[in-house]
Symmetry: D3
Subunit: 240 residues, 6 copies
């Protein structure tokens, strides 16, 4: 079986990516990150406080919250507020872990950076777009701290970006959209840093199982996509 | 005491208003409504369901949710969950009541229109901007129902718009920004329809009390502001 | 259309009002406030604590809670306890704001006065009866603090009282009972102080809209009702 | 050690008991039940519904809710919400079980009687006063169902009443007030029916332990108190 | 009517009792307590903290939590986690009170002992098995504190054990299993200490009422069962 | 750096594994699964119900709950209630997904299998032990359905087992214990089926990043461990 993607997209082709830095001005850093039809507003806010387990250590922290706005899907996505779904919690923990990997928390000092990723429109890939966009908001917030003289040296280590890969029958596809994602047999999310080293790998057989060689090829695809995203991130930050 | 407004704004002058219809495409109707630095994403989604008290009546319903995103204020506005604050509940009930006043719920049929007003950036006037923008999202959603043949006649009665007025000492000011709002002695929110009839009046003395003549003059200011907003709404809907 | 009120009550006539001060003895101040069939137990308790935002300022606070007991309505009003309804929150915020307007919070010192308004029987007007009765409980609590030597001067500024007005078709009616309230087109709640200055105005068109002249006449009715309530409050406090 | 009770009350003497039937009119049955300074408003409301485990059986149910109003104690009793304390749940389960023992649930038919016991003032004995007063509210509600022709025969079996007994050192005391209760070594609550048969016995050593002979004497005291309460109940119901 | 018990058990005969001390090693004390088919894992953990009302007094505390695992009953017992049922709260309060009666809380010092009773399999008598097993876990934890030199003298006063008794028609039966328990007319739980003095008595007529002589005979049965359980406890602790 | 493991365990050596099938009898299937000091009680219960999204499809479902008992860790693990931690939710979603991969849900018919994994003692590897043990409980429950004639053919496809691998500096270690796990730089959890095909791969750099070759070697280690666990599972099921 060969898989025809919308708009004749090739299996190893990303959707169009667009970043609008400074989309809002009240947060320390913000970006509207768009990947195809997926739109995520990422903001970074820095507060002079640390979680209890870091008090007195001089180290800082980064934490993330992820939500989907009700209007993000045609059928109205109900707000989660009595409790968070497992999916939401998994995603925001992943965003936080991934972005912490880009930071020297000692160099940050006793501050917490809050990354908020609010999905305005969802067409799959919201968690990976949140990571890639979240890094831009983070870098803009760090820039502001440096400009304000609150930090002397940047605590940023290396950029971080993420992408999804999926298998539909025998087809391995980069950067699934919603229609593809909902029929995928295997779902892979990969986070890498600016050296293309791995930060996180999550692969799940939604249907059946997968082999070691398939895993290898999916990682190859992810690496190609992340290479492109890192370049787009850098361009957006230079222009901002 | 005479009050100098930022940017030499006159006491009876609105901040610049901007509406971006179709900001997202997944909702039935959407608009990014901006009033000065205040940015609210309003979406309207229509579902074929009604609340229990309307079942079997053939009538429809409109309900609203209002939230402020964490990045909307410099100090990070914590998401409300587990329970909503009284302020949030008051605001979303006000938005819902005001927009229902623009609808013939029998002509809507057994549907519910969900208006979601998510504040991306907050510089006061978020509830009134949500009402004014919410009407645009609502009108776009109705247009889509008409175009899809799901409705034969529009259930829209008259447009609805809202504005705030405040008193700082003896100065009565239209459309307060955050800095003005936080020092106001009296806080007034007024909702009117396209005939400039009153839908809702809420006036609170935050400090001291106010007289009947002051109330009169604040209503005059509100009427002038709403006249301008109704024109901007109409222009945005024509262009969309 | 002319509206016939139960018991031949005139449009501008209040229901019989009755206050039983010291209904319970454990609270600092208490009153059973009855307006027609509506019965509200208002208590005031003073604790030597202030909310976090007032710590170290020397100023005090007043806060209110409002609840309807299950037996207050024939169909059993379910207790709110997992979360408060928007209506309940609006009401208790209104009671708190209104009664704070009667207090010099600096003169109160670092104390919090808790006003609890528990509706034993509900026949409309429960929020306004809570405000009017709440002032009596508050004044009795202040008297007790003065008698105990905990305060040298009374922090009370002016009494506060509240009443509802409604429009049913063209009829404007003072102090609606439940049957009237449930058919009203416009619902107005007005809070005034002892000088008949406005503290709060809340007017909502439940059905249609209302004009500026109607608003004027409803405020006139409210002022007449509040004048009578202020006299009854004063009499109850003198006798207590 | 000999224990001097306030007002020279004898060890086997109840506090003054007072019942005000029909305290509110909206519930099917209501009574303000006072035992010394303890005041409990008991209401009974009947709804045509049964809990799921009784659906289709033709049998009815009785359930109880118990709450203490904030003004019931000098230090302000915080409202329980989000979760009920274990103490509150134990008490309302006890009230429900005890009053169900007075009812033939088959003769009641597919209805639920809701007993609400709201403590307006607390001076110990609130759970036993709730049971004794709850029976009066229940009997008044049944009378109203009979008068309205909704029941042909009364489902009431026998009246039910309750009292507390305590041990302070070697003194066994009937009907403790708050000051006595807070120093008691053993706390006993006894529920009996009109034949003085036992419905419920709950005895707890708060401090140390107690012997079988002590238990016997506490049951004797309880029986004397309940005999008196049953007479007062009957008188109140005759007069109502 | 004569009641035939499973396995020809006599009315005054306990089910087989088995204690496996040190079932887990991470807790300070642990035991798998089995009574017939009922299996409860009891653990005791000691932390250097006290509840707020004991701060600064030098006294310690003991508190208990009780839960039934989902697999404990054939129909799957849903975990309680949004709120605890009244039954669960009653049981864990009873376990806590009963075990505190075995401790000199001053001699314990500023520590809290947490008793966790997790029911792995439920065949009635879970609360009494939790108390009897809980005492073993408690005694093992105290032994460990003594061995570690954290306590010089044991704060244990007397052992505590508990058993249930029930009435089915005229038959009084010791230590009911689930099938018996679900048809019992009267349900009695009795807690005694090593001197066979009473700590707690809870008797409930689930159906009808009971007389004073019946109460006496049920207490006799309970005393016989508890005598046996105290011996089994002592043997397990000697062997551990 | 070379890493010395407790008890001279080799880097590619599992801890001792022990399965006690039928540990409780009330559940359809149960096993006490022990891996080193980690002890997990896994039960499987089958109910004739399906979640709403499967109603009318004839297909069944499997879902899992995971909890750690308070006594499982020396410092007392507080029960999660009101809301589950993100970690707990991730784990129980992983257990559910992994075990569903071993089932033909159509062949199961309209039933839900509930897997409950309650950790009695935690020494790392609780999620993987829950999966490996959960499969045994599942297989025993299926056996019981077959024996009872409720299923004609087994819906089991292939067994499923899981293991953790970690990197500490340059050392790659199979099946970490708690002390190792808390210092690991990379944490890997791998789930495979009886054909050693991949079901789930989750790898996280807790500190730094990891390379593709490291990922390969960790998967090799995991495969060796899972091979051994599949054999132990089969032996336990044969003996049960």
């Amino acid at each position: 079986m060969v898989c025809q993607r919308p708009g004749d997209r090739r299996p190893d082709e990303m959707r169009p990516v667009r970043f609008e830095p400074h989309f809002t001005r009240s947060a320390f850093g913000s970006v509207l990150a768009c990947c195809g039809e997926t739109q995520v507003l990422c903001t970074a806010i820095v507060l002079d406080e640390v979680p209890p387990f870091l008090e007195g250590t001089g180290r800082g922290w980064l934490t993330a919250e992820y939500r989907m706005l009700p209007g993000a899907t045609p059928g109205r996505h109900k707000r989660e507020w009595q409790k968070l779904s497992g999916r939401t919690q998994e995603i925001q923990r992943l965003i936080g872990r991934s972005l912490r990997a880009s930071l020297d928390l000692s160099a940050l000092g006793p501050r917490t950076i809050y990354i908020d990723a609010d999905v305005l429109q969802a067409d799959a890939g919201t968690r990976t777009t949140s990571i890639t966009g979240g890094y831009i908001a983070l870098a803009l917030a760090v820039r502001r701290l440096l400009e304000a003289g609150k930090l002397e040296n940047s605590p940023l280590l290396k950029p971080v970006a993420a992408v999804s890969v999926g298998a539909i029958a025998d087809n391995l596809l980069l950067d699934l959209d919603y229609r593809e994602d909902s029929t995928a047999d295997v779902d892979f999310n990969v986070v890498m840093n600016g050296d293309l080293q791995l930060i996180e790998v999550q692969g799940t057989a939604e249907n059946g199982s997968f082999s070691r060689p398939q895993l290898e090829r999916m990682l190859d695809l992810a690496q190609a996509g992340i290479t492109m995203l890192l370049a787009a991130q850098a361009a957006a930050l230079t222009a901002a």
